[in-house]
Symmetry: C2
Subunit: 340 residues, 2 copies
């Protein structure tokens, strides 16, 4: 029971293989009668075009790859929830633009690096990931060349002259903290990751600092807490803040997860949100709506990001020059902060 080929169709339809190909591709150069016979035969034989042969022959259908580099530092061992709507949109948008999409999740035991270096399943690659990209770039010597079409999300520090797409982290943080200040908060704690190569967090911290500075507020190092990326880390950070006894009336968490963890600890200790302490997150994950009070946040526009990523790779494939794109963020105010 072998798969039927276009020759089998041709035989059954009583035409040449070339005509089968034309009919299947909707060419105008085929009579209505022949087309119908071909289609009937295709139906009968359950014929499907072999995608590999088609792509090999006509370099028309492009394939993109999405490589997700996860640090798996989060609670549930799964993919970073931030990437979910982004990947989803990449899939949709790439489909609209006529690309086929291959997805791969990095995994320790899985040397996709070697695979992707030696073989080329895609004309262009989109890298998503919060993990230190530099390490990978070095392993991927094959990808450090101008003839490879790849685009990186959000890790501009390590992009080494390559195109990247990234949110305006500094501006988003600035807006968020400025909002808290306008609502009357004066002692705003910052929760963020200072170790590692998470450049986004540095930018967010810079936005925090600029907002304080522009408002003429003093900077207090005791309000700056190093915090890893899980819920528990966020809770621990809030706990540490409370334990030190330093006064604060707001928390700006550099990710929603940290913020939600912090809220959990505040609530546990009987501190009212936003009554005593306002909380602001970053990312605008969907979970912001499920916690109570609902968490205010800085939305990263994953829809636009996804489209820019795809468009950028597409442009690279076509040989165009592309530059890094900064995507604006948007403040989303919910119950977790209000005017004092």
């Amino acid at each position: 029971m072998k798969r039927p080929t276009s020759f089998d169709l041709a035989a059954m339809a009583g035409v040449s293989q070339a005509t089968v190909s034309r009919a299947l591709n909707g060419s105008a150069l085929v009579s209505a009668d022949a087309r119908r016979r071909v289609m009937d035969a295709a139906q009968k034989l359950h014929y499907k075009v072999d995608s590999n042969a088609r792509k090999l022959r006509s370099n028309k259908i492009q394939t993109l790859a999405v490589l997700v580099l996860e640090d798996m530092e989060n609670d549930h061992g799964a993919i970073n929830p931030f990437f979910v709507p982004m990947i989803s949109e990449i899939i949709k948008y790439a489909g609209q633009k006529g690309f086929e999409l291959v997805i791969s999740l990095q995994q320790e035991s899985n040397n996709w690096g070697a695979d992707y270096c030696i073989s080329r399943p895609a004309e262009g690659i989109i890298f998503l990931g919060s993990k230190d990209f530099e390490t990978y770039a070095e392993n991927f010597q094959g990808y450090n060349h101008a003839d490879d079409n790849w685009v990186v999300w959000g890790l501009n520090r390590t992009a080494r002259g390559k195109v990247c797409v990234v949110s305006d982290n500094e501006g988003g943080a600035f807006d968020a903290v400025t909002h808290l200040i306008r609502q009357g908060r004066r002692r705003i704690a910052y929760l963020g990751k200072f170790s590692g190569d998470h450049w986004e967090f540095i930018e967010r911290y810079q936005g925090y600092c600029r907002a304080l500075h522009d408002a003429g507020l003093p900077f207090d190092d005791a309000l700056k807490v190093d915090c890893a990326l899980t819920l528990d880390d966020g809770a621990a950070a809030a706990g540490k803040l409370l334990d030190t006894g330093v006064a604060f009336d707001a928390i700006f968490a550099s990710t929603d997860i940290m913020g939600i963890g912090a809220m959990r600890e505040l609530t546990r200790r009987g501190i009212a949100i936003p009554g005593q302490v306002a909380v602001m997150g970053f990312d605008d994950l969907w979970v912001c709506n499920t916690v109570s009070p609902r968490l205010s946040s800085v939305r990263q526009d994953t829809t636009t990001a996804a489209r820019v990523l795809v468009d950028s790779v597409a442009a690279l494939i076509e040989g165009h020059e592309i530059t890094t794109t900064r995507i604006p963020t948007q403040l989303v105010i919910r119950d977790s902060c209000r005017t004092v």
Copy 2:
């Protein structure tokens, strides 16, 4: 600047193209010297094997497709969060088993149906989706044949003799409700979807009924609330329950999202959870950990599900017979319910 082929490599390395192929595929039938020269040339030319040609010639590397049929009935306009860890695991596991993976999200404007009928980008297909599958099956006449390798997640009612993989919804619901009863709850409301073709919900409802029956508890139709799939629907359902004035001391929500929405409404009206009302969800989404109190739930084992799905398609591709698999669920008790 054309892509180098294996012939270019051969020329540079001073060997035949056949030797290049052997070297690249790690054949033992190639001298160490030749292998080194080939590898060096590959490095210099940034050579990558053309995956299409390779797959065309050696029908070795199989490709699987994941088709996500979403009803987009959720708040977020994005993919159902339940599928996220599942897709993630499918990607990982399929990769481990040597499959390439193509993913497509159903979208109204996007007639992937036609595409997937006429072309065959994959040897096997995994359907995920809560949408009425029957409609699609009809559009996919090409897929209603024994020579197509596809597996469906969770929609056994419409699988029409095809293989499907599904959680033990009835048993999971039974366990959950039985747990509530053992904790002393007597008036347990059921929130679920009764319209449409969501067969899972019927099964969960059956489990609920059986648990009541086995415990000798009376069945009260006023405790059964029709509820759609969003947070707001869950909240509305809880509100309706409260407004009717019917007494209840627990809610079994047939999805976590409904349950979280219900919790929001209960909290808003000052009803203590689990003090006055215990709440139990279904799915064990990650968000169960972020809400307060943390939501108890029935875990669907998405990891196992993903692996069974991949294994099933793989088996079909190899020509084996496969039967439907029921995957056990697991009760996860958190703060939202406790003994009265």
